[in-house]
């Protein structure tokens, strides 16, 4: 674990609320903070920052900065390979409401869907964003009817004579309860979920339609209740189950905080969730206001997922999407958007830091230094720049990330010795070496150990 003291060079604006707090919050609830954002929100204070994170800017979210393009062409997320990934990655980088994107990513992991037509997955992505911080019950209803989900878990065309149990099982296991149900509950729920039919033509899926003739309207016994339950009644039943609120509270907590919540915290968050009418926003607010989120600011303990790492580095450095390379890198890092490994989503945590994944994170550092905003322009750096100033120049180029005194000492020492093999009287002609030093420092700041955690 990398432990470092908060950097004392940065001014603290308000008691109990510093740039370090802002950075922690904006990484956990988004994709990091630029240096300007850290300064601005440290000045504004805790309450104003959390309001902004939750609500986004007045007038709604928008995308700012340079629109994405790949080798001169605009993105075509439906038809071009990988452009769906770049399209969403760009939203994470440029959105003025990063929490909405972070929560869309949460739901993409929670309601993990893969192997479906790109237009269907993009439609599901819009659905998840629309409901990201709203009513869970409304989201559950929408995702149950969502064509990509219906096809992925064989809900469409589930025959009433032999109902398919895929969706019923995941509804209880992964989506709402996590346990506390029986095999009979799954079988009976599968009966309640029958009645959807898919219609196709030459161009693919036309629609998923409700066909009352295909629905099993008989009496079912589910989670201790008896009745002629249909789809909506089943969704109401699982949402009203005593296990549901703690399940969602714990799942949401683990998205923002690396250490498990205490029982009291789960009880408290579940209470917030129930009192709000199963709305996500109030629970997220309670987590973002919780002191545990800001514990050990000098020792970050949450591994950035590949997507968060890549989007965060692009965002912090002011870079835009200009190449398809991140698509391949994200895949080899273990997290390709729209392709979760299973219905259970990604494992996450330390699993992101496999040997190969770390190599790919280093490769991404190379990519950003070569093609992103942090690239070093010829003639832009002098070899006579003192080592400390060289390091500060590199930090500014990648978004001024905080670094521990230990890393600062190591990088300053590297800068001081970079020219040791060159005679001192040649130094003023060695600017090309200063450029390679800048590239190295920037790369280490983007890809070093401290950049992997938040």
């Amino acid at each position: 674990m990398v432990r470092h003291r908060p950097d004392r060079r940065r001014p603290r604006r308000r008691a109990g609320w510093s740039e370090d707090h802002v950075r922690r919050l904006l990484w956990r609830a988004g994709f990091g903070a630029t240096a300007a954002e850290a300064r601005r929100w440290a000045r504004r204070g805790r309450a104003a920052t959390i309001d902004w994170v939750l609500d986004g800017p007045p007038g709604g979210a928008r995308l700012r900065g340079r629109a994405p393009h790949v080798e001169g062409r605009r993105l075509d997320p439906v038809n071009e390979w990988g452009d769906d990934v770049l399209w969403w990655l760009d939203r994470m980088v440029r959105s003025t409401h990063p929490l909405a994107e972070k929560m869309t990513l949460f739901w993409h992991d929670h309601f993990a869907t893969a192997d479906q037509e790109t237009p269907l997955l993009l439609a599901q992505n819009r659905l998840l964003r629309r409901h990201a911080l709203g009513s869970f019950r409304a989201l559950l209803g929408a995702i149950t009817r969502d064509p990509a989900m219906q096809l992925f878990l064989s809900l469409a065309d589930s025959p009433k004579e032999a109902p398919n149990e895929n969706y019923a099982r995941e509804l209880m296991e992964l989506f709402t309860l996590g346990g506390g149900y029986t095999e009979r509950d799954v079988r009976e729920a599968a009966r309640a979920l029958t009645g959807y039919r898919s219609e196709w033509d030459d161009r693919g899926l036309v629609a998923i339609r409700w066909d009352p003739e295909q629905h099993d309207g008989g009496v079912k016994r589910i989670l201790g209740r008896r009745g002629r339950f249909g789809v909506e009644e089943l969704l109401d039943l699982v949402c009203a189950h005593p296990r549901h609120a703690p399940f969602m509270a714990e799942k949401l907590w683990s998205w923002f905080v690396a250490t498990p919540p205490s029982r009291a915290t789960v009880r408290s968050l579940a209470g917030v969730y129930r009192r709000s009418g199963l709305r996500i926003g109030p629970v997220v607010r309670a987590i973002l206001e919780h002191p545990a989120l800001y514990r050990n600011l000098d020792a970050p303990d949450m591994v950035k997922s590949p997507v968060v790492y890549v989007a965060g580095a692009l965002r912090a450095s002011g870079s835009s999407i200009t190449h398809g390379y991140p698509v391949w890198l994200l895949e080899t890092m273990g997290q390709r958007l729209f392709r979760p490994p299973s219905v259970a989503g990604w494992d996450g945590g330390p699993a992101w830091m496999s040997t190969n994944a770390v190599v790919q994170r280093f490769a991404f550092g190379n990519f950003l230094v070569s093609y992103g905003r942090p690239q070093v322009r010829e003639g832009s750096v002098k070899a006579t720049l003192p080592p400390r100033e060289a390091l500060e120049l590199a930090r500014e180029a990648v978004g001024s990330p905080p670094i521990s005194p230990r890393t600062r000492r190591a990088l300053t020492r590297l800068a001081a010795r970079w020219f040791d093999d060159i005679p001192k009287d040649w130094r003023d002609q060695a600017d090309w070496r200063a450029e390679s030093l800048q590239r190295t420092l920037r790369h280490l700041l983007i890809a070093g150990p401290e950049a992997q955690l938040c």
Partner: protein, 124 residues
């Protein structure tokens, strides 16, 4: 990735053999998803000129994609694409309707057929 490149290269070689390889100018990309036993084409129509079919096999069996004109003449085909694999097929198309199908086993008979219209922008 190497497998995908191999498929793309094979597809391009097949195009060249049939004289269908279009000149190197920007092609209209068309996403195509294949599964048992459907072909989903993400664009209803495209303008005349080079078209690049980006094919993803979302099914469990191997599939291919064959482009034929309305008289049944084969214009281009991919190699067989493994489950989860991708291939790219570039072909120049003039105005008209074209048939897309999977030629593996009896997949076309079981439903793996689709059409794409090529229309001039003024007629769209």
């Amino acid at each position: 990735m190497l497998a995908r490149l191999g498929i793309a290269v094979a597809a391009l070689a097949a195009c060249a053999a049939t004289g269908a390889l279009a000149a190197k100018r920007p092609a209209t990309a068309v996403g195509v998803g294949e599964r048992e036993f459907r072909i989903a084409v993400y664009r209803e129509s495209v303008p005349p000129g080079p078209v690049r079919f980006n094919v993803t096999n979302r099914g469990e069996d191997r599939h291919d994609l064959v482009v034929r004109d309305r008289d049944g003449r084969e214009l281009a085909r991919t190699g067989e694409i493994p489950a989860g694999g991708q291939a790219s097929l570039r072909v120049r198309l003039s105005a008209g309707t074209y048939r897309l199908r999977c030629d593996v086993a009896d997949h076309a008979r079981r439903g793996m057929r689709a059409r794409i219209r090529v229309v001039r922008p003024s007629e769209r």
